[in-house]
């Protein structure tokens, strides 16, 4: 245990250049981890200030313009610089080659380029925010963004535009890698579900992100050169902007949640020591979600003035896309039936995910019901719903995956007691923060309000109290993970008794991942009757 560590990707080369010019997917994943953690912290500080502001019905911290810039910053940072890249760029980057038995992604230098695009976009956007920010909301609705918004709209939009290339290149890299670099014997139906999920995510990244890029460019052209596209003052159509924006931004929700679902599909069988129930169904549900997800964007526009028949169709399709999500939840639960369930920290995050995602998904059914949506859209009901999906779902999955793969990535164990405590704290803090917002929303509290009628205050106070607990739940991992890097016990190759290829290599893995290319002999998540793992490939 105290023996000197083997040659690994971490110590194979040293020096700052060896990191900034690396083409090793594992090191690039760490670059992403560091930068994403930074942006998560920035977005989290904005969220904290928002919850502070809303404790009283009147202005608390600053002017209305301050508040408007605050929630805009929170949205932009969290959506484009945390949630979209979160799991794919970090764990996807690190694990896809390892899970399929490859040395690296198909295009290692493109992978590095995509990180630089992300960082460039991030720096531009953060610069805009430091200069004074922008007050459009993360949705940049027209004609507000062209002629009425104050602040650094052009700079911010350009930053987001840049980061989009990171999405496209990463998606492209994953698609090609999954098609071309699978080890011998790694058939499509032997792929871990995480790989399928990131594959489905990559399809969306590649197909939807260019539409966002076009939309943002049109916005810039209109704001800078006054070419009429979206503004009625110039003969444009504001609804066209909404259609184009949501054509990207709704599938973007699935960019955020599908990788998380993939993580949960890894965790549940591993910690139940049982094959995933209905593997093929879970896999095809991911693809179905990615596909149908492109056909539901109009459900953001039920009161925006789109045609009646468009709304009817979008409502129906929104219900349709909910079916595969429901099927996944049932499959995860069925997996636990007759398992040997272990309650390590990653599994607690998985429990949290399933519970919170169920609530988030079910409240999606409320919003897809046209008449109910008319009342609750643009209220806190929507705010609560998408936080249940994106924080309760996506972020829980992110932390679950992080705790699961941490020993593999760093070669160190973390204190399980504290990790479990953080998971439970985050779960309760989350519910206290966001459940009151459902009630606020049905009461009629509109979103993006700095001031509100006093009768709503009690729920806002509860929500802010919950946010303080949630903040502790999210900050704790920073401490015990830091401790783990410095003082944590060395991790064995397969601490969780998992079956995937990534667990056959030492922790942390050597620079080339595998001594020799593994030959895959069975599907993932196979266990014998005593709950011992049957590895996908016999090592060596």
């Amino acid at each position: 245990m105290l023996a000197p560590p083997n040659l690994s990707y971490l110590n194979a080369k040293t020096g700052i250049r060896s990191w900034l010019l690396t083409t090793d997917h594992k090191r690039i994943a760490l670059l992403y981890f560091a930068s994403i953690t930074f942006f998560f912290a920035v977005g989290g500080i904005a969220a904290t200030l928002i919850r502070f502001e809303l404790i009283t019905p009147g202005p608390t911290l600053g002017s209305p313009d301050f508040y408007n810039r605050l929630f805009t910053m929170h949205g932009i940072i969290m959506v484009w610089f945390f949630l979209i890249p979160s799991i794919p760029a970090t764990m996807g980057n690190f694990m896809i080659p390892m899970m399929i038995g490859a040395r690296d992604l198909a295009f290692p230098r493109l992978n590095l380029a995509s990180w630089y695009f992300y960082i460039a976009g991030g720096i531009v956007t953060i610069t805009a925010l430091l200069l004074g920010g922008v007050d459009t909301g993360w949705t940049f609705y027209e004609p507000y963004s062209t002629f009425y918004a104050t602040g650094y709209v052009i700079l911010t939009v350009f930053g987001i535009f840049l980061s989009g290339f990171s999405s496209i290149l990463t998606g492209l890299n994953f698609i090609v890698t999954t098609h071309k670099l699978r080890a011998p014997g790694m058939t499509w139906y032997r792929l871990p579900v995480f790989v399928w999920s990131t594959y489905a995510t990559s399809l969306i990244l590649v197909l939807a992100t260019p539409v966002l890029a076009m939309t943002l460019i049109m916005l810039l052209v209109e704001r800078v050169f006054h070419v009429g596209i979206f503004s009625p003052q110039l003969g444009g159509d504001p609804l066209l902007f909404q259609h184009m924006f949501w054509f990207y931004s709704h599938p973007a929700v699935y960019i955020m949640i599908l990788p998380s679902m993939g993580v949960i599909s890894e965790l549940v069988p591993v910690f139940a020591r049982k094959p995933l129930f209905g593997y093929e169904f879970v896999v095809w549900c991911s693809i179905a979600i990615a596909g149908i997800g492109f056909l539901v964007w109009g459900h953001h526009m039920f009161v925006a003035g789109q045609a009646l028949y468009a709304s009817l169709a979008f409502s129906f399709l929104s219900y349709l896309v909910a079916v595969p999500s429901a099927v996944k939840v049932f499959n995860w639960i069925a997996t636990m039936h007759e398992g040997w369930i272990h309650f390590d920290a990653p599994m607690l995050y998985a429990f949290g995910f399933i519970g919170l995602f169920t609530v988030g998904g079910l409240t999606g059914l409320f919003l897809a019901a046209l008449a109910v949506d008319v009342h609750v859209t643009d209220t806190y009901f929507v705010v609560a719903h998408f936080h249940y999906i994106m924080v309760g779902g996506a972020v829980m999955g992110y932390f679950g995956g992080l705790h699961y793969w941490w020993p593999k990535i760093t070669g160190r164990l973390y204190p399980d007691y504290w990790a479990r405590f953080a998971a439970i704290l985050a779960f309760f803090g989350f519910n206290l923060t966001f459940f009151p917002q459902f009630i606020l929303g049905y009461l009629g509290m509109p979103r993006r309000y700095q001031s509100y009628p006093p009768e709503f205050q009690v729920w806002h106070v509860l929500s802010s109290a919950g946010a303080s607990i949630l903040a502790v739940g999210y900050a704790l991992p920073l401490f015990y993970f830091s401790w783990s890097i410095l003082k944590g016990k060395r991790a064995p190759a397969n601490p969780w008794h998992a079956t995937g290829l990534e667990w056959t290599t030492p922790s942390p893995p050597p620079p080339a991942n595998f001594e020799e290319t593994p030959v895959v002999i069975r599907p993932p998540y196979q266990y014998d009757r005593e709950g011992n793992p049957l590895m996908q490939a016999d090592n060596g």
Binding site: D135, A304, F316, L370
Partner: protein
């Protein structure tokens, strides 16, 4: 702070119907999440790795379960979609003889103009038990007219008219919000909708005065902007006469036919060359940028008042 409000007031029959749908959704959500949570905890306990529970019955035919829960979800979801859509369609079918009120949104206020010429800002007074149709316009950015007690909301998109209708059945004062983010004072763009009984409403209308009906104000504008020079008999340029036009079909020069409703009238003032009446030259200049939404509403009310039915707005 003392009380925990948990259900909003309902001020219309429609609001109660939405509540019933919402309540049913709550029951479905509670049952489903209850089942999920129960199974999670039940399995977690029964099959914890230290337990000796029987694990011999490993399910083989998984597809039966898959088809079962897929079909069940699908059926319930389709039912909900139909239910929600059915209520929603109701919002698109305003009764023909509703009281019509023009509402203009601008950063950051709602300005209502009643047919009798009464005006109010961030307030809307309406009679109880009567159908009310709002014609909404925006002077600048997108706003959204939202009355939680009525469970209705409509985005107001600049450059076009939106409409919404309701019938309030409970006297009272209810919140009016702007629900679409519109800039600095978005949170203060709102006020109250006051639902009054018929007598109180009549008194209110009288007390507000309203020197001149909306249609009469429109008639003045019709002259001031020079519309009457062409559009009234004896005009110098051959232009369509507007008496009796409102609400009737108008053949266009491109061969199609439109109904001359408020949207058509408004569009014809701002973009006259887009839909030219058949048999006329496209010579009318545009008034875009020269007439405010307030004045447009008055002009529309005037054209409506000289329509075949005399116009609702003229009462």
């Amino acid at each position: 702070m003392a009380s925990f409000p948990w259900w909003p007031q309902a001020a219309s029959g429609y609001a109660s119907e939405v509540d019933f749908l919402f309540g049913s959704l709550l029951v479905i959500a509670a049952l489903t999440s209850g089942l999920v949570f129960f199974l999670l905890l039940f399995f977690a306990n029964k099959y914890r790795h230290t337990s000796n529970a029987d694990r011999s019955g490993t399910t083989k035919k998984t597809w039966r379960w898959e088809i079962g829960w897929t079909t069940a979800s699908l059926l319930i979801f389709v039912g909900l979609a139909v239910w929600g859509a059915n209520l929603y369609v109701h919002l698109y079918n305003p009764p023909p003889d509703a009281l019509q009120i023009f509402v203009v949104g601008k950063q950051w206020m709602w300005k209502a103009e009643h047919p009798g010429g009464q005006r109010e800002i961030n307030e809307l007074h309406v009679p109880v038990g009567q159908d009310v149709r709002l014609v909404l316009a925006s002077q600048d950015v997108i706003h959204s007219f939202y009355v939680p007690a009525l469970r209705i909301k409509q985005d107001v998109v600049p450059g076009r008219y939106e409409t919404m209708w309701f019938q309030a059945d409970k006297v009272g004062r209810y919140h009016l919000f702007c629900a679409e983010y519109c800039g600095t004072d978005h949170a203060h763009m709102g006020g109250w909708v006051t639902v009054m009984d018929a007598r109180a409403y009549g008194d209110w209308l009288k007390a507000q005065g309203g020197e001149m009906t909306l249609a009469d104000q429109g008639q003045q504008l019709f002259r001031r902007y020079g519309c009457s020079g062409c559009h009234e008999s004896g005009g110098t340029v051959r232009a369509p006469q507007l008496e009796g036009v409102f609400g009737s079909p108008v053949p266009l020069s491109n061969g199609s036919v439109v109904i001359a409703d408020d949207k058509y009238i408004r569009d014809s003032i701002l973009d006259p060359k887009a839909q030219v009446a058949a048999g006329y030259a496209p010579v009318m200049p545009t008034f875009a940028g020269q007439i405010s939404e307030d004045d447009l509403a008055k002009l529309v009310a005037y054209i409506e008042s000289i329509g075949p039915s005399g116009g609702r707005a003229a009462r």
